[in-house]
């Protein structure tokens, strides 16, 4: 068993477990932390796939910025475990069943994809490197790049409109 495989499996299991814990843990702060763990696992996968840039960005943006934002909000509202009233359990069960069966169905739909031979090349290849990404981003992808500024702008305006007292 090759080292990368070991890493792959361990990371996958880590990701899944902590993802489940995100969902089940009573205390919201805990689930934030579990989520961060998920992000780390995923970043690990990125590194395995030799997509260093994304791995870093993932950590900075998600684990760093976004999750901190979440935590701030929690602090702001100082919510603790028992603030969330329990959803009636039938709906809970229904949710779990729905999610599970969704998984089942999609797996069923995708299992017979003839991709046995298709490999995701591990820890080689250069496309994940910031240099290539930058080249493409600022040539072919310049339009979406610029346009997404509009997105941010609108988000900003929106947050201002909503957030500011009047």
């Amino acid at each position: 068993m090759h080292i990368t495989q070991i890493l792959f499996w361990s990371l996958s299991i880590l990701a899944l477990l902590s993802a489940i814990l995100v969902v089940v843990s009573k205390n919201p702060v805990h689930s934030v932390l579990w989520l961060i763990l998920v992000f780390f696992a995923i970043s690990g996968h990125y590194i395995l796939l030799n997509a260093q840039f994304l791995a870093i960005v993932n950590l900075i943006v998600y684990a760093g910025a976004i999750m901190v934002l979440f935590l701030f909000v929690f602090m702001l509202m100082n919510l603790n475990a028992d603030t969330e009233p329990q959803k009636n359990k039938w709906l809970k069960i229904a949710g779990v069943i729905a999610g599970g069966s969704l998984l089942l169905v999609m797996v069923a739909a995708l299992k017979n994809a003839d991709m046995k031979n298709q490999l995701a090349e591990m820890n080689t290849g250069s496309i994940g490197l910031i240099h290539n990404l930058g080249m493409v981003l600022f040539t072919d992808y310049v339009i979406p790049f610029e346009i997404s500024s509009v997105l941010f702008l609108s988000a900003m305006v929106g947050v201002v409109v909503i957030g500011k007292k009047d």
Partner: protein
């Protein structure tokens, strides 16, 4: 690594996210679960990009790079969404002192 593994892994993550959305009532947790779903997708995209690169490396060195760039844009959008989303949740919290999605239930039928 066979691509199927990644596919199933990310679908599994995605579905966990979905289950979370369905089972929790805390708006922020729900939102986090959605983020989880997005990350699952990101992982899948990266995996696919690598798969394409592997397949087409000979003809085009940059094959599959679009996938990773897409992930980049998803992160961008996610960030924007988070800011707006949290703003909305905070606004609601201001008015109701609750972030229970079922707390506000005036609009129905």
């Amino acid at each position: 690594m066979p691509i199927n593994y990644y596919i199933f892994l990310s679908i599994a993550l995605f579905c966990i996210g979905v289950a979370g959305v369905l089972t929790r009532r805390n708006a922020i947790i729900i939102f986090m679960c959605i983020e989880l779903m997005l990350n699952a997708v990101n992982l899948l995209l990266v995996a696919f990009s690598k798969m394409h690169q592997h397949a087409l490396a000979v003809t085009n060195p940059n094959a599959g790079i679009d996938g990773q760039l897409f992930v980049f844009f998803i992160m961008v959008v996610a960030a924007a969404e988070v800011s707006v989303g949290l703003a909305i949740i905070v606004m609601m919290y201001r008015n109701t002192h609750s972030i229970d999605v079922n707390f506000l239930n005036r609009l129905k039928h």
